[in-house]
């Protein structure tokens, strides 16, 4: 046994990024626990974090590039050969079909702060605007919504809050250390409100738990807004000086009477009264967070915008105990949109979802599948994926498989031979989070973190792959840095700090204390108070009106979700998909044996009365079918408190119960293009 060293680094088993102590012995991680000094998680991690020891040392990990032969079998080849052949094929496709016939897709399989911008830089450097990512199924829609209203990606100031409102989000499972912050707020008197279709983990501690019909949250938000206005529980000074559109908002809110809200949402008016009572006591220390429960709806962007309006009316934006609007670290960016926008090459989805493209420069993964299959409006033939696994995680798996199959070239870089990697022509082994350097920032704490190469298996990093491909495709000038480390130093340069500075505190290098109410200082300095077109919090968005998206006005109006508008009685149950479980992260970790044993299969959570009606018992194998696909899975009859009648839930990411065979890629939010993964109409059959 060699000497054991303990390094303080960042967990990358999900997107939450907790601080960990990784115990390294003989170039191998042997134990992981929470870093007690971390400014984020303060020594506590979830089971995914510690299980990384099994995952990173797994015998199935990839260490050699694979090439698929004519007979469909993979053979191991050398990295140089793989890179040469991939670059040659990409260039060949571009020559034959056009520069935009190739693209890159960033996934979360390795999680790496520089991965996104490196992918964006590379694909533009070789002449195509087609960058795709997992963010268009999770995150980007919430980003757009918050951004449209107050111009940033905020952080709830839970620690100091007096009222915490969680809409369709389950912090202990999805953002584990937030639960400590929420409990800190509760300990000093915050009221916790949870609004969800399911009685989730966090709902068990809620002071007010509101069970709501999927996709109707905005109607409840409007009911609350109407009541706030009626009772004059408003921060007039903030509204007058720092918002636009209050009159339009007020006029629209009028119609959301208690009766109307109950009819749409199923929520009794007493809850609205309770909430406004709590807001009256707590404001401006009100912090709301909206999760994927709202994002994965056909009215997702407007629902999240509506929710943020409550914070705005309470004067909670950029206030202590409200919603933080953090300052950045000021690092360099890697994208080259200014010098090479390539808009004339029609980034996929940019025309249909202009807000998504303008604000996030994200192409649309669902439209990509259609385009691969139809070559309309132009052929798309080659795709490089860095640790993405859309076969398990994108809507409408049947179409995803058909599209990936139809490509001339699919390259997947990942730690394991995932379901998507199995379809690839080339598979490149990826370096894990202990095998490369990265720098990332936590906006809530205004802290920067540095990680390092603590284990070395001689694996190619993401930077090395993109640099290598760019050099072979005549765009090497865009990647002048010798390695990850040189790149990190370059990125940090404008901040005035170096990697060595950041290393002085790997538990969180605070680059600036949070400044509350900076909107006042900014206005005094003649700057924009908020980073929106008007410089104010936009209760009404002229920008959205100008986009001319059908059915969309400046105020975030409530529209019934698609399943209400076009109800199909052939599919009488409403399925929510993608509720997280603490052991897994999307398509990952089913190969960690101890976790798989504790949760071997996917299952459909169902109300006991619905199960009884169908003659189904707990654990029974059943068949579920939607308009686009069908799978066999297991019934999990939950307690009547845990889900509303008529709604069911199935988590994603299980190979044998891949729920995305049922999800729709054609029912989407008009602004973000997000699929309504949490409102899928299905039928359930006994086998």
């Amino acid at each position: 046994m060699g000497e054991r060293t303990v390094v303080k680094t960042t967990c990358r088993m999900c997107g939450t990024l907790c601080g960990i102590d990784a115990h390294i012995e003989d170039n191998k991680v042997v134990h992981i626990e929470g870093n007690k000094d971390s400014v984020l998680n303060k020594g506590r991690i979830c089971i995914k974090g510690s299980s990384a020891v099994t995952w990173l040392n797994h015998p199935d990990r990839l260490y050699k590039p694979l090439k698929k032969m004519e007979n469909g079998e993979f053979v191991e080849i050398e990295m140089e050969q793989a890179m040469d052949e991939i670059a040659e094929k990409l260039t060949g496709i571009q020559k034959q079909y056009g520069d935009n016939a190739i693209g890159v897709w960033k996934g979360e399989g390795i999680d790496f702060a520089q991965q996104e911008e490196l992918a964006r830089r590379w694909i533009h450097s070789v002449g195509s605007p087609n960058y795709f990512s997992n963010d268009t199924q999770c995150f980007a829609s919430r980003y757009l919504s918050f951004n449209l209203v107050y111009g940033c990606w905020p952080q709830a100031d839970y620690d100091n809050s007096k009222m915490i409102i969680n809409w369709g989000t389950n912090a202990p499972i999805s953002h584990s250390y937030w639960m400590q912050q929420i409990n800190n707020g509760r300990e000093t008197g915050a009221t916790l409100v949870v609004i969800d279709t399911r009685y989730t983990d966090i709902a068990r501690q809620a002071d007010i738990f509101i069970k709501i019909k999927p996709g109707t949250d905005a109607a409840l938000a409007w009911g609350i807004i109407r009541e706030m206005i009626k009772r004059d529980e408003l921060d007039h000074e903030f509204i007058d000086n720092f918002t636009v559109g209050f009159d339009e908002l007020k006029a629209y809110a009028e119609q959301y009477t208690f009766e109307k809200v109950k009819e749409i949402t199923g929520v009794d008016s007493k809850y609205i009264t309770q909430m406004v009572d709590a807001i009256a006591k707590a404001r401006p220390q009100v912090s709301s967070w909206a999760g994927t429960g709202l994002e994965h709806q056909s009215n997702g962007v407007n629902s999240i915008r509506s929710v943020t309006m409550i914070d705005a009316l309470a004067g909670a934006i950029d206030r202590k105990g409200g919603m933080k609007t953090p300052a950045g670290f000021g690092m360099r960016g890697l994208t080259i949109y200014d010098e090479k926008p390539l808009l004339e090459l029609e980034p996929i989805g940019a025309k249909k979802y202009p807000v998504l493209y303008e604000r996030r420069q994200e192409c649309h993964t669902l439209m990509l599948m259609d385009q691969v299959l139809s070559s309309d409006p132009y052929p798309f033939k080659g795709l490089v994926m860095t640790a993405a696994n859309p076969v398990l995680t994108n809507a409408n798996t049947g179409k995803v498989e058909a599209a990936l199959e139809a490509l001339d070239l699919l390259v997947v870089k990942d730690l394991f031979l995932t379901e998507t990697a199995k379809m690839a022509d080339y598979v490149l082994p990826a370096a894990s989070y202990l095998e490369r350097e990265e720098v990332y920032c936590n906006s809530g704490k205004q802290a920067a973190f540095i990680t390092g190469k603590y284990v070395d298996n001689g694996l190619q990093t993401e930077y090395e792959m993109f640099k290598g491909l760019a050099e072979r495709m005549g765009a090497g000038d865009y990647f002048p840095w010798a390695d990850d480390h040189e790149l990190t130093e370059w990125l940090l340069e404008p901040t005035g700090y170096t990697v060595a500075d950041l290393k002085t505190n790997p538990s969180g290098f605070i680059f600036g204390e949070y400044e509350y109410e900076k909107h006042r200082r900014k206005v005094a300095n003649g700057e924009k108070a908020f980073n929106t077109p008007t410089g104010k919090v936009e209760l009404f968005s002229e920008y959205l009106v100008e986009k001319g998206i059908e059915g969309l006005n400046g105020v975030p109006e409530y529209h019934d979700p698609a399943y209400v508008q076009q109800n199909d009685p052939a599919y009488p149950y409403l399925m929510i998909t993608g509720a997280r479980v603490q052991k897994f992260f999307h398509g990952r970790y089913r190969n960690i044996e101890q976790l798989r044993k504790a949760n071997p299969d996917g299952c459909l959570e169902i109300h006991p009365e619905d199960a009884k009606e169908l003659g189904i018992v707990d654990g029974e194998k059943i068949k579920i079918t939607s308009r686009v696909g069908s799978i066999e899975t297991f019934a999990k009859v939950v307690h009547e408190k845990e889900i509303i009648r008529g709604a069911v839930q199935h988590t994603h990411g299980y190979v044998n119960q891949n729920i995305n065979y049922l999800t729709y890629d054609d029912v989407t939010d008009p602004v973000s293009g997000f699929p309504a993964l949490k409102s899928i109409q299905i039928k359930i059959e006994k086998l």
Partner: protein, 160 residues
């Protein structure tokens, strides 16, 4: 000596503690059956209590064990079962008023929390910070503070 304390007002029943405990003990699985800490959730009553051995100073399980298989670890103060000595008579399970001793159906011995050599994995995995590894008095101090603050708030509102 430190014990694992549980703040029931913070626990959300995420069960990370159970998963971590099961793996720390079995080295093979995170299945709940292997866990010594149990998150007791009574959904009808809305009661949620993460419960594990409190390592009683006068441990009834230890007193009652006819095989003298239960002893105190001098370093960690943990009450531990020596599975070599355990006869599987289950008297300790009957003696524990909290239900914190379990029976291993494979090895046919009693089994319980051993505080993971002074670094309890359940606490390190409690993402809600409902579990702490601390002196009992520290817990009492926090409880006092909590109730004091509530009292102060009530007095402030009453005297308005």
């Amino acid at each position: 000596m430190k014990v694992v304390t549980m703040d029931t007002s913070k626990c959300v029943g995420c069960r990370n503690c159970e998963l971590a405990c099961a793996f720390a003990n079995s080295k093979a699985t995170c299945e709940r059956t292997e866990s010594k800490i149990k998150v007791n959730h009574y959904i009808e009553e809305e009661v949620l209590i993460p419960m594990t051995c409190l390592h009683c100073e006068d441990a009834w399980c230890m007193n009652v064990c006819p095989a003298a298989a239960i002893s105190r670890n001098e370093e960690t103060n943990a009450v531990e079962i020596d599975e070599e000595k355990c006869a599987g008579c289950k008297m300790c399970i009957l003696a524990c008023p909290y239900g914190n001793i379990h029976f291993d159906e494979e090895k046919l011995v009693s089994t319980k929390c051993n505080l993971c050599e002074g670094n309890p994995r359940c606490v390190g995995h409690c993402v809600a910070a409902a579990l702490q590894f601390e002196e009992a008095e520290e817990f009492a101090e926090r409880s006092r503070k909590k109730v004091d603050m509530r009292l102060a708030e009530t007095m402030k509102n009453t005297c308005k």
